[in-house]
Assembly symmetry: C2
Amino acid sequence: MKEKGLLIVLSGPSGVGKGTVRQAVFSRPDAKFEYSISMTTRKPREGERDGVDYFFKSKEEFEQLIKEGKLLEYAEYVGNYYGTPVDYVKETLESGRDVFLEIEVQGAKQVREKIPEGLFIFLMPPSLDELESRIVGRGTESVDLIHNRMEAARKEIELMSLYDYVVENDNVDFAVDRINAIVQAEHCRSERVAYKYIKMLEVD
Amino acid sequence: MKEKGLLIVLSGPSGVGKGTVRQAVFSRPDAKFEYSISMTTRKPREGERDGVDYFFKSKEEFEQLIKEGKLLEYAEYVGNYYGTPVDYVKETLESGRDVFLEIEVQGAKQVREKIPEGLFIFLMPPSLDELESRIVGRGTESVDLIHNRMEAARKEIELMSLYDYVVENDNVDFAVDRINAIVQAEHCRSERVAYKYIKMLEVD
């Protein structure tokens, strides 16, 4: 019996720094998970590359994939679609490797319904003021959009209790340490490893 | 509202190396827990000091403490009592600090009944052969006693599923890393920290 990989879902309010933390997770030399690249219909930001940061698709292409059931989750957010291709995730988990998803809160809720045994991590800003200044600091959004995002963030934070873990993003390195600890701990959970030891008692 | 400390219970079969791992946990410069020293009626081994490794008590003294309800757990094991003084544990948890217990399997079961929200970690030998060679290698036990201990160990391993986590003691440093990761992860569990963030939404 082979141990299935762990699905790690990192989510949290818009502006909290999910993308930055995800990049830092994967830049560690001991990073052991596979990153599932999301699909989106939003325009690439400066420096973002297709097939690396996201798969950038047209609205029509995205809606076709929804129809074909090719998305583990998807959400419309501030006028754009975001989603996770399902085949890659399932195949990787079956092969025993951990998969890391960085997705929006609406999408995380859908994944929880489909893969309840996943590991759901909510990335939290140290304060709402801090969150607002990050959204403003990004400099890409209008004042109205900032207001909308803050309202959305408050609602998203209220969904925190649906997650297994809450990681504060007070500092990117600390946040990555916490995420790595959570994954390592989860691999030691007794319901996950019991079968190995039951086998050991039978053999010896 | 103050966050209560976490009770960390390290247990596992006799001979697995609980004492060595516990010492290594506390020798790390960043160790943040309080160690609850056990009480025992067994004779000190070479180098063991009263009030440091154990509180060494006579059988009569120990039975008096049982009567007075002064033990969180106790067990008789190969003719000796082992136990945990209750007051120190409860006061330390209330003050917000984590307490680390290293105890026998019988005792861990009693603690689970009294403090179910504790964090129960089962230390596992890499194999039963390895466990036997460790017990033999200690050189303090007779052949009959080794046989008894191995039988007891097999029964103890069957209780593994009562624990939250299983940590393999293939290497002491790796085992300590895993234990530290488990404790760090547990401090991020959403049911443990939700109250902080609910407060944040109310204030801002």
